[in-house]
Point group: C2
Chain length 210, copies 2
DNA sequence: AAATAAAGACCGACTGGTTGGTCTGTTGTA
DNA sequence: TACAACAGACCAACCAGTCGGTCTTTATTT
């Protein structure tokens, strides 16, 4: 495959990450890449297609990782660990992709958007399934509403793109460890929750009273 | 104060929420609002100022709420409860504002950006402080790295704007209850952690071995 | 109270600069 | 010779913002 194509993607990624998709012109991209409009449009049908390609390479990768983690393990607990682990680590590998993914997905043309949405939903479904399995098998707290708990997990991980820096205090692996710890702490049933309930004004709605 | 100004903001909010800041032209805004370019630019210096106003009304509100919650309670646990509660509820009140806030903040002009950043950082600092207090007083697990834990909480809550719908399965109050439960479950030391550690491959780096 | 002045609110045709994309080439190479 | 890879001048569309002007409300003077 062409060398220029990859170079254009890399350059665009850096520019989009800093200035946003709409803050970068095709002219800027080709100048920064040392090529021309002709070069650009030889490899991409449009600026929108470039946006799609960036989205797609990222979500495809994440999906594959999750599927792998899902197959390797059988018990819900290691599954959750593996999925969170690999999911968090993606933010080190694909940070610029991810920024674009979450900031600019609104601007994907309908045809592109549909394809991305399909893969994104499949990933979400996988995460939810693992939690549901754990609840059914009794490993995880049954009283937790699946939807809310699942989105809480996706949220805390996804948000990483807003604050993670390679030269920050903690490595991506350390972050993954802490996140796994946090998630397991609220998923696993813990003894009597007396200490917890003592500080609550009322019993939360989702606790089965029986 | 003028009625038109508010009407413009409301219309813009709906349009930005659906099509993004760059997907909406001033012309569209004034047509949808039944006014004119003149009407628009009489109330706003620029399209960018409108973007700033939306950012500012939201973050100012959140900050005030957090400060109130901070003052009312003295013990860390009710503080955390109150802050999460009010923070989550904001997503019902200000959903479109928040979408714009997180999707388009990249496009704020430097002067505007600085002002927003100041308030946003102050809010973040407050959340972190509450956790730190709880750790010092022994209410919360000391081994958790403040930075990562804090960002996990901010992440799970902030992400709500991506999935919350008023006509969804759960009300915003129910979501707030579950989130409070999740957070307290990973903050509070409770359960001896044997059940948890049994499933870990190794002791996480942040556990003080003492 | 009437007349007049001044200020504020709003209108909409117009513009200057920008931008994604095109098109006609040119170069290298198999 | 044929074709892919790239160059770069060019264009039509679009868009934020302007500006001279109108209408309405408020303030000031007579």
């Amino acid at each position: 495959m062409s060398d220029l194509r990859e170079k254009i993607i890399q350059t665009s990624l850096e520019l989009f990450d800093r200035y946003g998709f709409h803050g970068v012109t095709v002219k800027q991209i080709v100048q920064q890449t040392n090529t021309s409009k002709g070069g650009f449009y030889h490899h991409f049908q449009s600026k929108d297609e470039l946006l799609f390609v960036i989205h797609d390479t990222f979500i495809t990768y994440v999906l594959k990782e999750a599927q792998a983690a899902n197959v390797i393990h059988s018990s819900p607990i290691p599954k959750v660990q593996a999925i969170i682990q690999s999911f968090v680590q993606v933010f080190d590998l694909y940070k610029p992709h991810i920024s674009v993914f979450y900031q600019e997905s609104l601007y994907l043309k309908p045809a592109y958007e549909e394809e991305i949405k399909g893969k994104r939903d499949e990933f979400k479904r996988m995460v939810f399934n693992v939690i549901a399995e754990g609840q059914e098998s009794g490993h995880f707290r049954r009283e937790l509403p699946l939807e809310i708990t699942g989105m809480a997990i996706l949220g805390m991980v996804n948000w990483i793109y807003k604050w993670y820096r390679r030269d920050g205090t903690y490595t991506i692996d350390q972050i993954a460890e802490v996140f796994t710890d946090l998630v397991l702490h609220f998923l696993l049933p813990g003894k009597e929750d007396s200490e917890y309930f003592r500080h609550m004004l009322k019993v939360p709605f989702f606790y089965e009273s029986e």
